[in-house]
Every structure is written in structure tokens, then in C-alpha cells.
Subunit: 286 residues, 2 copies
């Protein structure tokens, strides 16, 4: 792959700019870089997010719960990762991993932090007994596919997406490695969805929300613009499932939440009330 030989050092040394998009925000250490409290709105749930694939999972979940009639009102605050807002002290308290989405539940008792998109889906599903079947078989299959998505996302986002879209130059070996794996993962999903309508069988669940955010949006060309590169028509069952879910009103709304990119009509920088979707503004209140 390379004519320039590189030998592993005994001890790795950090060079502060390794190149590529987000190079300035990536560091080998954790923790806060500056003091900054998080804003808190009027609702029980406070979401701090950005409409990346992991971020939209939370927005979709809240909108689905509200559509089902649950008392899941929430304030959604934009976290500008390009500005390093995930390294503010308040955000680090919410999520010591400095990644969106992060959630605080200001319900009865002390405020409770929930971080990792899969944990947020699980937490809200259990809090409202929704989108996670009670039947042990369907529940197990839901969690199988939820954890499968969580375990595979770093191959897709941190691997394929990074080397396809963000790395400073095209590198054949990593691209081959992660493209092969992404196609394999899409094929796993396609074979499952050849047999069932949704991932756990017949019921739309948090497993579909988690997987749609990544694989659904990839086959729809909404993430990385890689539909041709990946030949997503080879996965017709994923496409069928992705298109059906994309039409859900809660999914349409959830994808708008904390979205500062894309078409203006797709953007809702902050969400504090159901009417915000009708009266959108690009202004931030935080």
C-alpha cells in the first residue's frame, strides 16, 4: 500500500495534528477543557445532541413516545462539536465520554444522567414501557439487534465513514477493510429483513430506530453519500425497511432535531415544544 516504510515505535507519541476532518477535536485524553454549565429547560427530559446518526436515535425516540401519547416532553439543545462544546464541564458531567447524545432525566429524585445512544433508547423504552416488547422472545431479539448495532457502528462510522469521507487522503487498505465490513453488515441486515418486517419480527422497536439511524440512512444516501460506492441496491430488503421507516412522522421530526446542516426545512436547531416543528427558527436560545 505504501512506499514509505513506517516502523512502530516502542511507545506511541501524540502528534497534535494527525490530519483529517475533526483532527482538531480529537485528543488522547478525556475530561473537560473548560467550565460551562449545560442549559436546562422546562421539561423532565433534557437532551444534548446533534443530528448525526447516533444523535437522531434520541430525537426519533422522543418523537415516537410523544406520538404514542406518552408524557415524554423534552428540551433538545444543540451541541456544536466543531466548537468543542462536548468538552465543557457540564457536558462531561452528563457524558464523561464527550460524545453526543447525552440525556438528563429531571424526573422524581436526583437528576439522572444517561449516555450512549443505545442506553438512552433502553432507558426511555423501560421508562415508558414502549418500543421494547414484553414478550421474552421478541424482547430478546430486540436487544440482540440493538446491541448488534451498537457493536457495529464504529466499523461503519469510525471506520468506513472516516476513511471514505473524512481522512486527509484516500488510503486503500483501510477503505477496503471497512467497506468490506460495511457491506457484510448490510448483508446481515438484508437477510434478516428478508424474513421479517422489523428487526424483532412484527413490531417496530428501539432496534429499528438504532439500526435505521445508521444503515437505513446509508442506503437512503443520507449519510456519507456512499450509496453508489456501496451498491446499496444489493440490499433490497434494507431499502424497503428504510423507506417505510423514513415515512413515519416521528422519524421525520426526530431527524430535524438539533440539525444544523442539510436543507433549511430539515433544520430545527433546538426543540422545546411540539409547535417548534411548525415555527422553526435557526436561532439558538442557549
Amino acid at each position: 500500500m505504501s512506499d514509505t516504510s513506517y516502523t512502530l515505535p516502542r511507545v506511541w507519541q501524540w502528534e497534535s495534528d494527525n490530519g483529517g476532518a475533526f483532527a482538531g477535536t480529537n485528543r488522547p485524553v478525556a475530561g473537560a477543557t473548560h467550565e460551562k454549565e449545560l442549559p436546562v429547560g422546562k421539561h423532565r427530559f433534557q437532551l444534548y445532541s446533534l443530528a448525526t446518526p447516533n444523535g437522531v436515535k434520541a430525537g426519533i425516540m422522543f418523537e415516537e413516545l410523544l406520538a404514542l401519547g406518552h408524557d415524554a416532553e423534552y428540551d433538545a439543545w444543540l451541541v456544536d462539536i466543531g466548537e468543542g462544546e462536548q468538552f465543557g464541564s457540564g457536558f462531561v458531567d452528563a457524558n464523561p465520554n464527550s460524545k453526543i447524545p447525552a440525556l438528563f432525566d429531571h424526573g422524581p429524585g436526583e437528576p439522572r444522567r444517561v449516555f450512549e445512544s443505545g442506553a438512552i433508547l433502553m432507558y426511555l423504552a423501560e421508562a415508558f414501557d414502549a418500543l421494547l416488547p414484553r414478550d421474552p422472545g421478541a424482547r430478546t431479539e430486540t436487544l440482540n439487534w440493538l446491541f448488534w448495532q451498537m457493536g457495529s457502528a464504529a466499523f461503519v462510522g469510525g471506520g468506513f465513514g472516516h476513511f471514505f469521507a473524512y481522512a486527509p487522503e484516500a488510503m486503500k487498505y483501510p477503505i477496503d477493510r471497512y467497506t468490506m465490513e460495511t457491506k457484510r453488515l448490510l448483508d446481515v441486515l438484508d437477510r434478516r429483513l428478508a424474513d421479517t418486517r422489523y428487526l424483532n419480527g412484527e413490531d417496530y422497536s428501539i432496534a429499528d430506530i438504532a439500526n435505521w439511524a445508521w444503515y437505513g440512512q446509508i442506503v437512503l444516501g443520507r449519510v456519507y453519500n456512499a450509496a453508489e460506492f456501496l451498491q446499496v441496491h444489493e440490499y433490497p430488503n434494507v431499502v424497503r425497511w428504510a423507506e417505510e421507516i423514513a415515512e413515519r412522522p416521528a422519524v421525520r421530526r426526530g431527524c430535524m432535531v438539533n440539525r444544523p446542516f442539510g436543507e433549511p426545512h430539515e433544520q430545527l436547531l433546538e426543540r422545546h415544544d411540539a409547535s417548534d416543528f411548525e415555527h422553526k427558527t435557526r436561532d439558538r436560545t442557549g
Copy 2:
């Protein structure tokens, strides 16, 4: 990084040997390559695994449950991934993702498959009401850290481990990328464990099992032999926690299950009875 320019094609093409360890077993398609039923032993739980970091999670969990007095007897069958046993039809039925570990519960009702190491931990914790606190605060924190491990493992194993230990040649950019992230993740854990004994606070849980399997074994030099490269002494709280957990008898036993590598006294290729740990054999019955 490279003097050889590479331009992304419009459509990715699979070259059957991309190089590196496991190149022969990696494919861009899912599904079975051959017909082969899985062996089934006498116990309720049938585990199909290999003592990689993800694999030992399941072995440790079963041994912890048995040590707590639960009726969690299991048969553990070795899956030789070098021989492609994960692509046999029976294994693919157990886990369509063709990765170890996979579990069948032959308890009341139809046999139920559980796949993904995090889902297996969750399933067994709920089945026996063990190692997952009932207190909502501690339960939430347990799941935060369980999902955090599942979300980050692919950066550590599929990223750092691959480019550090298995890729066909040393590549500076991917090694820098994944080493930086692995050190950041170790630092996240170190800051947490500076404040608490275990990840959820005071109680050993499935979050510790999941994280110990990767981060604990890395700082102990048991995975990738990367302790010096990563300067693991910079994470003293992780080392303290890792050493404490390593001494647990159930962890010692769990790490031996389905282990065909390492020192002979560490290996138990199959586990069918508690006495197998005393009367070890390298013979497989399957």
C-alpha cells in the same frame, strides 16, 4: 502517509485477499458457507464461543452466576474461527452476524438465541436478577457503561488491535488514529474509576465484566501485548480495578473457557461441568 496515490473508485470492488491476519475469513457477504449443526449438551444454556475479549465476557458471566448459587449450568463449545466454524449453518442460525459468542437458551419454551456479548450479559443478568442492580440509579449507570463498552470496542479491537497486531504492514495514520482513541477511552475509564470502586459505583456488575474483558485485559498486558506502547501505567485506577477483578475465581475460570491459546494451564477447550476446570483436557468432544 503514502507515496502511492490511490483514488476512490465510483463503485468498490472486492479483492479476495486484502492481506493481514484473518484475511481469508473476512468477506463482504453474510450467511452460511456450509451445512453444520451445532452440538447440544445436557444443560439449559449452550454457549458457542472462543476466549477473545468478547468471548470471555460470556464465560465469566456464567461462572459468576454459578458462584452466586444460581442454576446457570452451561455447556461451552469452542468455535474455531480460523477454520471458519462461525460460517456453519447452525452457528449462523444462532448468530446471523457470524461472530462469537453466541448462546442458546434451552429453557422453558422454544430454544431462544441470544447474540452479541452485551446482549448475552443483559439476558443472563435479567434471567437471574444478578449483576445488574435493581436500584434505578445504579441500573442506569450500569447500562451507560455497558453500552459505552459495546460502542467503543470496535475502535479498540477492530481499529487499534487490527492495525497494531494484525494488519499486513505498519500504517502510521490508522495506528495514530486508533491509538489516540484507545488512550482516550482508557482515560475516560480511569477518571471514572478514580471516583468509584466499580463502574456503576459500589457494585460489581455486567458493566465491569464487559469493560474488564477489553480494557482490563489490555492494561494487564493480556491482549495485544501493547502495555508499553499504550503506557498503561498512566491509568492507575484502571490497573487497580483490573487487578482486583482478575483475582476473582469466577473471572479466572471464565477466562479459561473455550481458550485454545496461551499457557496449557489456562486452557479449557470445552466446559461441560464444574469439575472440568480441575480435570482439564485439550481434547474436544464436538
